[in-house]
Amino acid sequence: MLAPLVMALALTPDALCAQRIDSIPPWRVAVRTVAIDERLAVDAGLRVGDMVVLAAEPGRASGDTVRISAIVRRRADPSEVARSEYRIRMHLGGLQDLIGYGDRVDRYAIATAGGVAADSALRRINALAFGFHAYPSREIAVETSKTFVVVSRFHRAIGMITIVASATFLLCIMLLKVDERRRDVAAMRLMGISRATVVRAVMLESSFVALLGSLFGVGLGFVVSAFVNAHYQGVYRTPLRFAIITPGTVTYSVLLSLVLGIGAGALAARRLSRTPPLTLFGR
């Protein structure tokens, strides 16, 4: 008897929206069969071929004895990430019988040729079927992804604060780094090297430091994102990737770091080059 309450989805076998990872050949199937979640299989110690009894309610004496014909792995779906319930995929009729649902379904998913065909199918269904409402998939996607829109806005806000913090830190470090070169700058100026050359040299150095730092940061980012993915994939038992580093992210962060580094270098270099060399020497 299954101890945990199971949320069942009625689907035809062809429509299983999860990856099959183990199954028995159809000719060996005699009794009614179900496919179960990989996490249910692990937690309940179930294997393909095991017989289980499904009941609509916990503790109900009567139930439906079925054979596990497949173990499926969920696809990476963000909307399910925090949900920990188990899932069983059954034949539609089996589930209707089990829960006494009669000849009813909750919803239909309809495949169309797309584009105009989808729009016209939508119009015809809504015109014909009193009591039903057909929605385009994109509308449902917008409705169900509101949570992720909020999370995404939150991440952007946190990102902005992090950028301000790191920019301030970078500016501080670059100013100090250039300030440390005051004696070198003084010596260069006393040797007759022009202010412009001094500024360019300092800026070149600061941009080199910024570039090196950002490259190191990119490497660190890859390591951290790998750790984050491994950690949260384990916590939520999902193949979903939580942190993705895109070429856009890398370009943005390297450019930001370069702009800040060069800006800070230019600022400090201009200040140093305008200070008399002997003052820079502390005389």
Partner: protein
Amino acid sequence: MRFQLAALSLRRHASRTLLAVLGVAVSAAMLLDMVMLATGMRQSFASLLGRNGFTIRVSPRGTLPFDTEAMIGQAHQATDAIRRIAGVTAVAPVLGTTIHVLGGRGPATAFALGVDPAVQGDYQLLEGQNPAANALVASDALLRATGARMGDTLDVAVGFDPQLRTFTGRRRVIVAGRARFTYLSADDRAAALPLASVQAMGGAGRSDRVSLFMVRTAPNVDPEATRVAIERVLPRVTALSTAGAIAEAERRLSYFRQLAFILGAVSLIVGFLLVTTIVTVSVNERIGEIAIMRAIGVSRIHVVHQIVIEGVGLSLAGAAAGLLLGVFTARWLNSILRGFPGLPDAIDFFLFQPNSAFRALALLVASGIAAGIYPAWRAASLPISATLREEAVG
């Protein structure tokens, strides 16, 4: 004297000091926000669940309240069984369903709760009275959607039969009150009716069934012991104490807690590194000055104190600015997360708790002290004559 020298030293490089304070302020603000995020959710959720004194929620076995459409059968029997458990002072049965309010504007769909008005803990009445038979209390959002007002009669149904093309479980009910629903957001269309009405409207499928029980225990009773007793008496249910519910919510929202921990730790490290760098550079620039102070008899500990005070000064100024910045940004971030669909009004993700906030800022100031100690000790330990000679020769 030490404070004066430290202040003069910081003022000598005003722009650098300002930038460092700004950096520490942003780090402090981030740290504060993350502390508020880590503790706020828990506090806010605990306060929401603790309202009305219900300490235990009982739902169908293996489920959380309203997580699935599963129901508890033989509700009367279950209610009596729970009432008989020592320490239980009240049992509030709740049945959730979807209703369609029919009318001129077309059917408006809403979430309806069947409750026992005498012991319910799901809503606060804002106007009118609790629902009697053939009456309901509605949220403002539902009243807006239907255009109904107090005293109006609504045509309500709980289902639709597509074969007969008729609404099922239809009943005419009077709007007896306006209410704020504790566990729903202000935008949710919601109504509460007497439990018997909702069960009757639902037909055989909802007869003598409930979605959950909310259980109130006596103040001197351990809710955990009562929870165990309920599960023993009713093996087909899962009983969840407030502490258990908070733990479950924390598990589901662990992402935010861990994010808060990681970003908080990074903020602390950034603040520490910033102060360390500033103080180290400042000390390196003043090696000669420090050697002279030591040569004229200023004690090593005096030098260390002065430099540490500089670090503390930077951290304190940054922490003070960070406190203001943190409260401001927390409000902003909270307003973003409050956009989660269906989030109860009472839930806040960022909650300012003075104790936690000041502890976090104290940690930042402590890291400022730690940041100043090493460069200070190194400077104070330099050989005086060699340093003076090097500085003089340049």
